[in-house]
Amino acid sequence: MSDVPRIVSSRWDVPDAHTLDGYRASGGYEGYAGLRAALATSPREVADVVKEATLLGRGGAGFPAGVKWGFCPPGVWPRYIVVNGDESEPGTYKDRVLMERDPHQLIEGCLIAAYAIGAAQVFLYVRGEMAHAQERIAAALNEAYAANLVGRNICGTDFSVDIVLHWGAGAYIVGEETALIESLEGNRGMPRLKPPFFPAAKGLYMKPTIVNNVETLSNLPWILCNGSDAYKEIGSDTSPGTRLVAVSGHVKKPGVFEIPQGVTTYRDLFYDDRYGGGIRDDNELKAFIPGGGSAPWFFPEQLDMALEGRPVGAAGSMLGSGAIVVMDETTDMVKACLRLVRFFARESCGKCTPCREGTSWEEKILQRIYDGHGRPSDVDALLDVADNISPGPYPVAAWEAEGLAAVPFPPKQTTICPLGPSSVAPITSALRRFRPEFEARITRGNSIPLEAAHG
């Protein structure tokens, strides 16, 4: 194992890894070896290996895949697998790479999962805007069907499953698993309430359905080939394996990196030459988003945290989808906050009153502040509007200099899904740390008081 183990990104440098031949030829072992390994044991054993490995979901919530599979009620058929390839969380860029560059790895992962849980069908729900990913997966599926790796009596066994590529059409909320299912049923992508609609019990067509992220499933071929022990040797005890992170924003070398979980720190990611290579123009770091647009922000104090779910949650944020956005000292926090809030307002599905009305209200207040038409009462109004979407203390990182303790993740919510409450993350993060920037906008109109920001 090299210094930086590569589980899911091992073929990214191989030019034709997206073809079946390329896939077979690369990666150090016969392509679809993971599938063959799975087929050589029983479905239950495959599920056990995955459970043993503690494969944490990479879609955002970080829930162990093996445990989730186990939630399918026994004896209820059919079961479905829905692959979440809707990657739309601001800052997130990894599933697209996996789909474009290594579609067979994903297909193989789907097959292993389908074998283990007894799925009749797998739907690969790929974000509509990702035309190239669609094409690559379509081509890979066509090859795989032709090679009898998908379809009827796969590799001559009694295992048969169909994998259908499904096109999304542009709606962030559809990444939420119950909305994804609604969308796949041909409906508006509006989330269902959990409980009672936990997909593993009542999912697609109200049948047991496992929704897994693209990256989660892409880990399976490696795990089946190498075993859960090998997997657990990588990463930390509670977060084994690697994960993909996209480091974007104000770093010198933005990129998608595969890192061992629970080991690499944010400082490594921003400053180490193997990763971000430093803040752009060697500026000061002002803040960073550790897990996608929905995550409360971190600040320089949190730089030395390793990327590991539990401690990051306790510190007031989340690893989310591995999207890390770096903001240097020149960043206008009102503007950044407004942009993120605007995202949630535009992407609210409209189902819950607080999210539908609250997020657009938040956006309007912020826009006014940004445009220099804010009122002194706006900051408190904004916090109260946010409090009606996500009541009580909102997760936030500690600010030792001010003697403020962290509020752990996740937030409370008056809504069905976390989208509405996510709109509060940039507001609380920015306002708690950079309130003077907002106030200066209000009292001094349009000028950007960067001195105040540093104060």
């Binding site: 599933d95 509509g128 805007e129 048969s160």
Partner: protein, 206 residues
């Protein structure tokens, strides 16, 4: 053209057969209609409704939820410029402003010659390659204003035949013929898969 052509209708039937319930094909069929006409017409939605056995209102209810479906004609090239956080930090808004100035239209607008529509869009999963945009959903990474001008010039000159007209989703489609399908039937018709039954009974993979 408004309803699906006979060829597209045949394709539509193939797509419908890939789902346990026909309504699941709503979005793919709307894409197909948009590919045919460049935008999603009312007549096409009514036709889709017939094909999947729902009302046109249901098709529209679904279609109108999603960003990609355009109910009015748009430019031959729809340029989606990302201004979400990673791109914003790297100048996405400046790129958008440049595009608006260059083409003389605001976000959401279409040039008079019907060539270009610009949109101010949310994160398109190219964050490390910011600022990014898409032309008819084909990515352009780290786009400078000069890159943008060149792109427009190339598109106008017909030099970008890698970019198909608006509406074309994937140039390669999944081909799943009826005789290849293993398991797709209505959920009610499905029972425990044979490999599970066999393995629960303790026998080995045949």
């Amino acid at each position: 053209m408004a309803r699906l052509t006979p060829e597209n209708e045949a394709l539509a039937r193939d797509v419908i057969a890939r789902y346990p319930r026909p309504k699941s094909a709503t979005i793919p069929l709307c894409h197909l209609a948009q590919e045919q006409d460049g935008h999603l017409t009312d007549e096409a939605m009514a036709h889709i409704a017939e094909l999947i056995g729902v009302t046109p209102a249901e098709v529209l209810g679904t279609a109108s939820f999603y960003e990609m479906f355009k109910r009015e004609p748009v430019g031959r090239y729809v340029i989606n410029i990302c201004t979400n956080i990673s791109c914003q930090l790297m100048g996405g808004e400046d790129l958008l402003a440049h595009a608006e100035a260059t083409l003389g239209i605001g976000a959401g607008g279409t040039t008079d010659d019907g060539m270009f529509t610009i949109e101010d869009v949310e994160c398109i999963a190219a964050c490390t390659e910011a600022p990014a945009c898409q032309v008819n959903y084909r990515y352009q990474h780290k786009v400078t204003t000069e890159d943008f001008d060149r792109l427009i010039a190339d598109l106008r000159a017909g030099r970008r035949d890698d970019i198909p007209p608006h509406g074309t989703l994937g140039k390669v489609r999944q081909e799943l013929r009826g005789d290849q399908i293993a398991n797709i039937t209505a959920p009610e018709q499905q029972s425990e898969p044979v490999w599970i039954t066999r393995s629960e009974q303790g026998s080995k993979t045949p």
